[in-house]
């Protein structure tokens, strides 16, 4: 088993795409197990993809793609601006609140960073923010936004571990709000130090107008979460309703979705799904190997002897941060889940708690200098160097990591909202 993991590391370092590296390493592992049937390869990939919960992935990608037109991000930014622009920290707060709204529509962190960043970074630069600071704020906000459902990471995690995706979605809200509050507080201190001026206060009439213009876009998360949390739709069904809603609003109300845009969106959805699903399939072969080998159980008993669950959660954060930064988030998660999730189960860690912690860490890792993929999006948009962004971003990421540790130690942050909606019963 160690051989398969070492081989994976070697393949991945050489640059074999993660899905194929996982598959090829698993092949070697199968070879080493006496009498393991090769047909596992095809059957585990098929079984890995053939899962109704995972159908939420293409639908959330498609709905997000249709809602990510320029007009909608502009409207959500305007709404955030009239709401919090006057708070000390000014446009920095606007970035955070706009990201809360926008992440509730889109399931993709990189798309969030690009959409909000392209509107807000130029605006922040005009209002006295340095390019590095502006880029760092967008990166931190997008990293927080991964916790706001709908979230593809949660769909994948929930489908693979058989954890309720509705519960995971509900569980993400409070951690997202706490992380936003922590970042706003951090920004407030920065604002004093850097002498950033807040925007003028906006009249209630203008606020009402901004709300009216953003209403169609904001109704989408209301439909999704109303449906899921109210127990009306499964997440997959809510996602397809979101697609139909996005097509109607995009075509008829905002007029930004044309038939050719729709066809391109369908194609992008198919290709992105293919990339994600091949990874899930290959990771499923790996998971089979891990179960057969009994390695996770052995590691679990080792951790048990040095302190159990809490030690494991902190260890997970330390392993996930560099791993997810290097392996672009989701591929890293799929690679490590077959090892770490069984350990969590052996140690009696709640899988909803573990999933939210993993998601929070992924948000930080995606923007972790110098390798996080999301970082390169804000680099391009802000025109700052990696060094300038890192100098501003690392303190924010430290604040976010502190929140992640808080989530690890105080599980009720995760359970509270699902409990209120009857999706979680305390043990």
């Amino acid at each position: 088993m160690t051989a398969a993991l070492a081989l994976f590391a070697a393949f991945a370092t050489a640059g074999v795409p993660i899905a194929f590296a996982l598959g090829a390493a698993a092949l070697a592992g199968l070879w080493l197990i006496e009498g393991a049937p090769l047909r596992i390869v095809a059957s585990r990939i098929f079984a890995g993809i053939d899962n109704f919960s995972l159908l939420a992935i293409p639908f959330f990608i498609l709905a997000g793609d249709l809602m990510e037109t320029g007009g909608i991000s502009q409207r959500l930014v305007t709404l955030a601006r009239v709401l919090v622009g006057h708070v000390r920290g000014g446009l920095g707060n606007v970035v955070l609140i706009a990201m809360l709204f926008f992440s509730g529509i889109s399931g993709s962190t990189n798309a969030d960073a690009a959409a909000i960043g392209s509107v807000m970074i130029p605006a922040m630069k005009r209002h006295g923010f340095g390019a590095g600071h502006a880029g760092a704020l967008v990166a931190a906000a997008a990293g927080m936004g991964i916790l706001v459902p709908p979230c593809l990471t949660m769909v994948v995690y929930g489908s693979i571990t058989n954890t309720s995706i509705a519960t995971l979605f509900a569980a993400g809200f409070l951690p997202a709000l706490i992380m936003t509050a922590a970042l706003m507080f951090h920004l407030r201190i920065d604002a004093q130090r850097l002498g950033l001026k807040p925007e003028p206060r906006i009249s209630w009439r203008d606020r009402a107008r901004a709300l009216r213009q953003a209403l169609w876009a904001l109704l989408l998360p209301v439909i999704i979460f109303g449906g899921i949390l109210g127990g009306i739709f499964t997440p997959t069904e809510a996602a397809v309703v979101a697609v139909i809603y996005a097509i109607i609003v995009g075509m008829l109300v905002y007029g930004e979705v044309t038939p050719s845009y729709l066809v391109r969106s369908l194609l992008r959805t198919g290709v992105t799904s293919g990339i994600v699903m091949l990874l899930i399939g290959a990771a499923n072969i790996f998971a089979w190997l891990m179960t057969v080998s009994g390695v996770p159980a052995a590691i679990a008993s080792g951790i048990q002897s040095i302190g159990g669950g809490m030690v494991f959660l902190l260890m997970s954060i330390l392993v996930f941060l560099p791993l997810f930064a290097l392996l672009d988030g989701l591929p890293g998660m799929l690679m490590i889940m077959p090892v770490f999730v069984p350990i969590a189960q052996h140690l009696g860690v709640d899988l909803v708690h573990y999933g939210i912690l993993m998601t929070a860490v992924m948000g930080i890792a995606l923007f972790l200098p110098p390798v996080g993929v999301g970082l390169y999006i804000v680099l391009g948009l802000s025109g700052a160097t990696l060094g300038e962004i890192s100098r501003h971003l690392l303190p924010y990421l430290a604040t976010m990591t502190a929140v992640a540790v808080l989530i690890a130690f105080v599980p009720w942050i995760v359970y509270l909202v699902p409990y209120l909606f009857g999706l979680y019963a305390p043990r």
Binding site: G15, V16, F20, F46, V243, V271, G274, I275, L326, L327
Partner: protein, 169 residues
């Protein structure tokens, strides 16, 4: 030789176009079937029994074809840290990476064909279709990925798979 090369590249473009059309149609069908399920259950009050299973098999096809087109366009995630830091290694690593990828795809093709043959004796649970039509997505996807990989190799034997970056046509 050059003509053969041009022919192969032309074929690659044609295959990619066919994949594009099929993916767009399948994703549209996937959306329609699942939305029909929601409408039937909540609007008509008469749930469809076949929609969920049909959507799952459609998605297996979408996934395998999407993965194939992604391979052509260089969309699969990989760790490019080493080849960015040490570009001198690239000509040596490129063919190795291609071989490892091809090896996995060959095994997927072979086992996919076996599973498809086995599945010809089973039927889908909720509608009359032989399961081979669902499993066929695996060898088809693996075959197409091998094809695109071979064309990349013909274009430039020393290319590294992570260097491929192209827009869908």
């Amino acid at each position: 030789m050059n003509e053969l090369r041009a022919l192969a590249i032309g074929l690659d473009r044609w295959v990619a176009k066919a994949e594009t059309v099929v993916i767009v149609v399948l994703v549209a069908m996937l959306t329609a079937v699942t939305f029909a399920q929601v409408c039937a259950r909540y609007v008509l009050g008469d749930p469809l029994i076949w929609s969920e299973e049909a959507a799952r098999y459609l998605f297996v096809w979408v996934s395998m074809l999407g993965a194939a087109l992604a391979l052509r366009e260089g969309g699969h995630f990989g760790l490019d840290l080493l080849i960015r830091r040490a570009p001198a290694l690239k000509p040596a690593l490129g063919p190795m990476v291609t071989i490892v990828t091809a090896l996995f795809l060959l095994i997927l093709l072979k086992t996919g064909i076996d599973e498809t043959n086995l599945a010809s004796r089973q039927f889908a649970m909720t509608f009359p279709m032989r399961m081979q039509w669902a499993y066929l997505a695996l060898p088809t996807g693996a075959g197409l990925m091998l094809f695109h990989l071979a064309i990349h190799f013909i274009r430039s034997p020393s290319m590294h798979i992570l260097d491929i970056r192209r827009e869908p046509e």
